[in-house]
Symmetry: C2
Subunit: 179 residues, 2 copies
C-alpha cells in the first residue's frame, strides 16, 4: 500500500465563528503535487438515545434553520471545550428533557462527514430514567415527545427520520440490545 | 405546539470555497429575540454499499486530512451541481472501484449534522456487480478492498469504523435485507 499521507504546507484561516471555523490548507499529495483542503472545524457533539420504562424513546423536535423545518431527533448538543463526552451527554439529556438515567452506556462515536468536517459525535444509550426539571436556555425552543422504540425504528428505516445521529443510535441499539 | 419557525433578518456571506460555503444569518426567534445562525453550505453527497457475489463489501480506504489518518469507507463522493443522486452514486462507485451493479436500490438519505451543516447524503445498496476499469482523478489516491459483510458489520458495531455514512448504510442493509 502506498503511503497516502498528505503533508500540510500552508494554512489560511478563513472564518472563525461560535460553532464552526474554517481554514484552507495547501497540502503535499503522495504524487508530489499540491492540493487545497477545506476544513470545517467543529468542537464535537453528543447524543443520547434514552428509553423510558415502557420502551418509549425521548425525542426532541426543534426548528432546524439550515433545512427550514422541524426535525425530531434524539437529545443532543455540542460539547463545551474540554468537556468529557459522557458528562456532556448527561448534561444535554437533563437540560433538554429533564431525564436522568440509571443505565448509561456508550454506543461509540461517528464522524458525520470526514471529508471536510471535523465533528466527532459521541452516541450513548440510556435507560432507567427518572425525571427532574428541564433547563433550557432562554432562547432554546423545543418540544419533547415519547415515541415507542419500534415506531422510531420504523421511521428511521423508512427514511422519515434522516438525522444521522438518531438513525445510527437507533439502529445500533436495535442490533446491540436486541430491542 | 408553539410555532418554532425562525425568520431570516439578515445574511452575511463569510466564505466561499470549492466544497463548502459559510454564511451567518441573523434570525428572529419565536420569542421575538434575535440570534445568529452559522450555516455551512454543502452541495450534497452520495454513498454506495456494494456487495459482490460472495457477500463481500467494497471498501475504499483514503487519507482523511481532517482527521490525519486512513479511513475505510464505502465508495462515496460529492454530487455535481444538479446531478441526480442515483446517477452520482453509480458514477462514484464506477470511478472509485470499477464496479457496475445489476441491483441498485435506495437506502434513504441522511443529514450528517443538521444543526449547522446543509449536506444531504444519499445512501444506496448495490449487488450483482461486474467490474470495469477504475477512473480515478490524477490526484485521487485510494485503496479498494473487499471485506466480508459480517466482518464489516462487526467493525461498525464495535466502533472500529466511525464514518457515519458507512455505519448507517451497513446497519440499514442488515436490517432491511436480513444480511
Amino acid at each position: 500500500m502506498t503511503d497516502l499521507t498528505e503533508k500540510t504546507l500552508r494554512r489560511e484561516e478563513k472564518f472563525h465563528g461560535r460553532i464552526v471555523s474554517v481554514h484552507v490548507d495547501e497540502v503535499l499529495l503522495p504524487n508530489g503535487h499540491t492540493a487545497c483542503r477545506e476544513v470545517v472545524e467543529h468542537n464535537g457533539g453528543v447524543a443520547v438515545l434514552a428509553l423510558d420504562d415502557d420502551n418509549n424513546a425521548l425525542l426532541v423536535t426543534q426548528y432546524r434553520y439550515v433545512f427550514g423545518k422541524l426535525m425530531p431527533e434524539i437529545p443532543a448538543g455540542k460539547l463545551d471545550a474540554g468537556e468529557d463526552p459522557s458528562a456532556g451527554a448527561l448534561r444535554e439529556l437533563r437540560e433538554e428533557t429533564g431525564a436522568v438515567p440509571e443505565e448509561f452506556v456508550s454506543l461509540g462515536a461517528i464522524l458525520p462527514s470526514p471529508g471536510c468536517y471535523s465533528e466527532v459525535l459521541h452516541l450513548f444509550f440510556a435507560r432507567g430514567l427518572h425525571f427532574e426539571e428541564q433547563a433550557l436556555d432562554p432562547d432554546e425552543f423545543l418540544n419533547v415527545e415519547r415515541v415507542p422504540f419500534d415506531e422510531l425504528l420504523r421511521r428511521c428505516m423508512a427514511g422519515e427520520i434522516e438525522d444521522a445521529k438518531t438513525v445510527t443510535a437507533v439502529l445500533k441499539a436495535k442490533l446491540q440490545f436486541g430491542l
